[in-house]
Symmetry: C2
Subunit: 270 residues, 2 copies
Amino acid sequence: MKQAIGFIDSGVGGLTVVKEVLKQLPHEQIYYLGDTARCPYGPRKPEEVLKFTREMSHFLIDRGIKMLVIACNTATAAALVQIRAELDIPVIGVIQPGSRAALKESRNNKIAVLGTIGTVKSEAYPKALKRLNHQVEVDSLACPKFVSVVESGEYKSAIAKKVVAESLLPLKNTTIDTVILGCTHYPLLKPIIENFLGADVAVINSGEETASEVSALLDYHGLLDSGGDTIKHRFFTTGSTSIFKNLAEDWLGMQDMHIEHIKLGEGGKQ
Amino acid sequence: MKQAIGFIDSGVGGLTVVKEVLKQLPHEQIYYLGDTARCPYGPRKPEEVLKFTREMSHFLIDRGIKMLVIACNTATAAALVQIRAELDIPVIGVIQPGSRAALKESRNNKIAVLGTIGTVKSEAYPKALKRLNHQVEVDSLACPKFVSVVESGEYKSAIAKKVVAESLLPLKNTTIDTVILGCTHYPLLKPIIENFLGADVAVINSGEETASEVSALLDYHGLLDSGGDTIKHRFFTTGSTSIFKNLAEDWLGMQDMHIEHIKLGEGGKQ
């Protein structure tokens, strides 16, 4: 039977990674879980994010996934090491691919990371970037308003433009040449962010590099889909199915998506 | 103690992969072995290529590498599956990364693969490409003269231009939009190949994508170098050290390289 690749996120952000995986691996089946009811994860304590990430992982493991992508930077920073140790399928996050992509792009090794409060506090990006290249200079900027702008579906609006301009003001007139979208929600704001920062700054969506890593690891572990059975993607959310559906259909270019509502934690059946 | 990443090739071709790895992972130590004395591998039988690849792998394993890159398409096609099963360190080849990079680049999914006779006969590229995307159309073209043009140091000469033009004539006026350099020697001819094929055809050197895979797998296995000890790259060849040195210094932009001559097979101490 066809086995899916599992994706988990605090909400809809991980769909930006799914989009790239569907492009690079069109015959793979996707199971996605967005914990919209408890979004945002950014301001929460690492222990709580680990607990939630563990609950999401087990929900998808129970449905038979062959690989897990923690498609959320906050959860990657707080939980990747532990979840990888606990599960016996390949588990990857988005911080390492994002760092790799940024270092490939940057010409002067001056990189800024935009992220949630949790991701910035964790210093996961500066650590990952400096591990790959000791010479890199990294600035981190928390953009706590971005996630709610995206989750509310306002990511193309005038509000989005205003929030982006206010939040990214510290990056104007610096020598930074590469900015990492260190939260999987932020690629939905990418056109506005690029427009604000100008053509000299490369804006990195870690989705493409994460998709390449998914492809490489599936191959390495002999888990690439061999074709055959019909693909049936499944999308789960702990929050509103209608908001999720609108955004997912717009972003993924899919139609008539069926979104399943589920419960996690004390209210759910684990 | 610092552990190196091992690279093996039939000759100097794998240096095109090393170049990208040094760019993406500047703090990693490299051990490289080119089996120049028995180059080219392309026309040899798969069983013989497997035997030679096994000898090269063990030479580097004995020197304590933490990961092995089969930086040769012919050897990847003939030996990757077996060598991966036999060794207890991560082992990757160049065909899967090359396929991934080509599919990311192509807009019409019409791809040509240039390779040695051995690689073309193995059908490793069409299989890898179609496994990732069933819709792709693949043409294969053996270019048996390319390796000796490169190994003889003639890769910028008028001879190289003539050989490229004659070999790639079948690709002129086709709808192919992406060409994979399916032999690690060929990137040294890339400027001439691009010039002949024109701006509408993307020419894929699998080195960059292979380097990304090396980085991803080292991270996944917790093997990224943590800094500290001084880096001492080592380069071994079974052939002429002076030809190897000239080409390696030109290609890698290094100076005063020390190339070590070794013997493999019946003549060597395994």
